[in-house]
């Protein structure tokens, strides 16, 4: 099972890093003569260029090349959204387990952040941004608001586990022997909590990808022409396109296995009921 997981992780990493470099065509070049063209594997003998292996979208852009770049961009964005949330959660959770003052403060802060209706705030933020805001500014808004909303639940779980460990004999023995907080944290808590932190990383990554795809579909994600899994699915909101152009569902073939893999990996590490 862990072999499969490692292999899947490697495939994803390769897709995210090397994918954009391997794209045969430009992600933004529009071929207005061939909009919504079905996939072809060969070109007519006289034609130059490269065949559209996964067809073209509503602007005549190559879906295959866009999908490769989208895999890189969406993965990077999801990582950028999940990593600060996890760092905040692990930091606050561990610090709270060792210090009651941090616990009170962190809990109050977590309560505030958890009640924040983050997508409503995101809508307000996007309304306040200029219409031609760059992809970096938009990504930053996503990262900050997602991290602010997502950390408390993970922090409580990490706190709970760390607190449970702190009360155990081996940690108490280390405290009695005069171990510093740093030693307790690095030698006793962290090795026991790695699995839980990894689980929450998988869950947060999945949540970030899901949120990004959904927000993209209502126009709150990265702007065109930058491709992401979410905005590549956007043409499907048109019923005629959705029923005729099956090749536009291609992003789901990348998206669903990755999300499924992350969910299963998280459950695999978490205790299962049976």
């Amino acid at each position: 099972m862990s072999r499969i997981r490692q292999a899947a992780l490697l495939v994803w990493l390769a897709l995210a890093v090397a994918g954009p470099l391997l794209a045969p065509l430009s992600f933004r070049a529009q071929d207005r003569q061939a909009t919504l063209a079905p996939p072809t594997w060969s070109l007519p003998p006289a034609a130059a260029g490269h065949p559209h292996w996964l067809g073209t979208d509503t602007f005549g852009r190559d879906v295959f090349s866009r999908l490769l770049l989208a895999s890189g961009l969406s993965s990077l964005l999801a990582l950028a959204m999940a990593a600060p949330a996890l760092a905040l959660a692990a930091g606050v959770g561990l610090a709270a387990a060792l210090s009651p003052a941090v616990n009170t403060f962190g809990r109050a802060l977590g309560e505030i952040c958890r009640s924040l209706p983050w997508i409503f705030v995101l809508v307000a933020v996007r309304a306040a941004m200029p219409l031609d805001a760059g992809p970096l500014a938009i990504a930053l808004a996503l990262v900050v608001l997602f991290a602010a909303a997502a950390w408390p639940v993970a922090a409580w779980a990490i706190y709970g586990a760390a607190r449970h460990l702190v009360q155990q004999d081996f940690v108490q023995a280390a405290v009695g022997l005069g171990a510093t907080r740093r030693q307790i944290l690095l030698r006793h808590l962290w090795p026991n909590l790695r699995g839980l932190v990894a689980t929450y990383f998988a869950l947060l990554l999945a949540a970030a990808i899901g949120a990004e795809v959904s927000l993209e579909l209502v126009g709150l994600g990265l702007p065109q022409p930058w491709p992401t899994w979410g905005n590549m699915l956007d043409p499907l909101r048109d019923f005629t396109v959705a029923t005729r152009c099956w090749w536009l569902y291609a992003p789901l073939l990348v998206l669903v296995p990755i999300l499924l893999g992350l969910t299963l990996a998280a459950e695999d590490r978490a205790p299962t009921p049976w």
Partner: protein
């Protein structure tokens, strides 16, 4: 330590305050306002534009404006929507029932289906049909994981495509069934996983063995003894699903064309209608805070140990921490 009522109230007020102030600061510090679009219209002279801004957009400093808005909001005046030309409160009153209907229907479906799916394998387990139990659990488990892998937006798009094919209830502003179904499918895995988890933990408890030994029927054992004891875990999950569902309305409603608060927020965002957005942030924070408060009160009522300050962390994370 759980938060006391006092702390909770303080945290709630701080949340409201923070999100509102953020909204106001954004409106103040960023370029563009409700009349920016008119600048492009050559038939509107600059003097008229300046007059409009002077009349409709308050020119005081941020904090004073914020104070004035808070005082007015406390008196029931939530501002005036420049896009819809109506008071914000009447706009909210018109849109809120649609969202409420959608949330109640969707979460009701998700919870009843999720609990049922978790109870069936548990029931088979009580009857010692292990093979059936395990098979069903694996099947449900995989199906729920697959549903988790479909983001809400994708579910909505797929539902719209499949609706005419699969004879699902119609699309449009009249029938809430299709959006509610999508919402229910999005929350079904959460409910199922948490309920299955909780039931499996409870099946191993001493009082369940006692019940089995006393010859209680499996159905009675589950319904009267196991299910009530899951409340400790499931009540916080319920408040979590409520706040998540509220947030996801922003995605669901515009995609499915359902005229509720989520759609309103997107419409308001497109025309920089800041009073509407501020009111929506206020309203959704209020709903989340009240939901959390009710869940907390129900937990305290159900679990005497919490009243004595016994349990040290929220029950939803208990299962995770025990394994570590």
């Amino acid at each position: 330590m759980r938060l006391r009522l006092r702390h909770r109230l303080a945290a709630a007020l701080a949340t409201l305050f923070a999100s509102l102030l953020l909204c106001f600061a954004l409106g103040q510090w960023t370029p563009g306002d409700a009349f920016s679009a008119l600048e492009l219209d050559p038939s509107v002279p600059p003097a008229t534009l300046a007059h409009l801004r002077a009349v409709y957009l308050p020119q005081q400093p941020l904090l004073r404006r914020f104070g004035a808005w808070l005082a007015a909001a406390a008196h029931g005046d939530w501002g005036y929507s420049l896009q819809f030309h109506r008071p914000v409160l009447s706009l909210l009153r018109e849109r809120a029932p649609a969202s409420l209907e959608l949330i109640l229907l969707g979460l009701g479906l998700a919870w009843s289906a999720g609990l049922l799916l978790a109870l069936i394998p548990a029931w088979l387990g009580e009857q010692a049909r292990w093979r059936w139990q395990r098979g069903l659990q694996l099947g449900f488990h995989f199906a729920a994981s697959l549903l988790t892998a479909l983001p809400l937006g994708v579910l909505a798009v797929l539902a719209l495509v499949l609706a005419p094919v699969a004879w699902l209830p119609g699309v449009g502003a009249t029938s809430p069934w299709l959006p509610a179904l999508v919402l229910a499918l999005a929350f079904l895995p959460t409910v199922y996983f948490q309920a299955a988890h909780a039931l499996a933990h409870i099946a191993a408890r001493a009082f369940m063995a006692q019940g089995r030994a006393a010859g209680l029927s499996p159905l009675r054992l589950l319904w009267a003894h196991a299910l009530p004891n899951t409340a400790d875990v499931l009540v916080p999950v319920a408040s979590l699903t409520l706040s998540q569902a509220l947030v996801e309305l922003v995605v669901l409603e515009p995609l499915m064309g359902w005229p509720g608060l989520g759609q309103l927020s997107i419409q308001a965002a497109q025309s920089k209608d800041m009073p509407v957005l501020a009111a929506l942030v206020l309203l959704s924070s209020l709903v989340v805070i009240v939901g959390n408060g009710v869940s907390e009160a129900v937990q305290l009522r159900l679990n005497p140990r919490l009243r004595a300050g016994g349990a040290s962390f929220p029950p939803e994370v208990e299962a995770q921490s025990l394994s570590a």
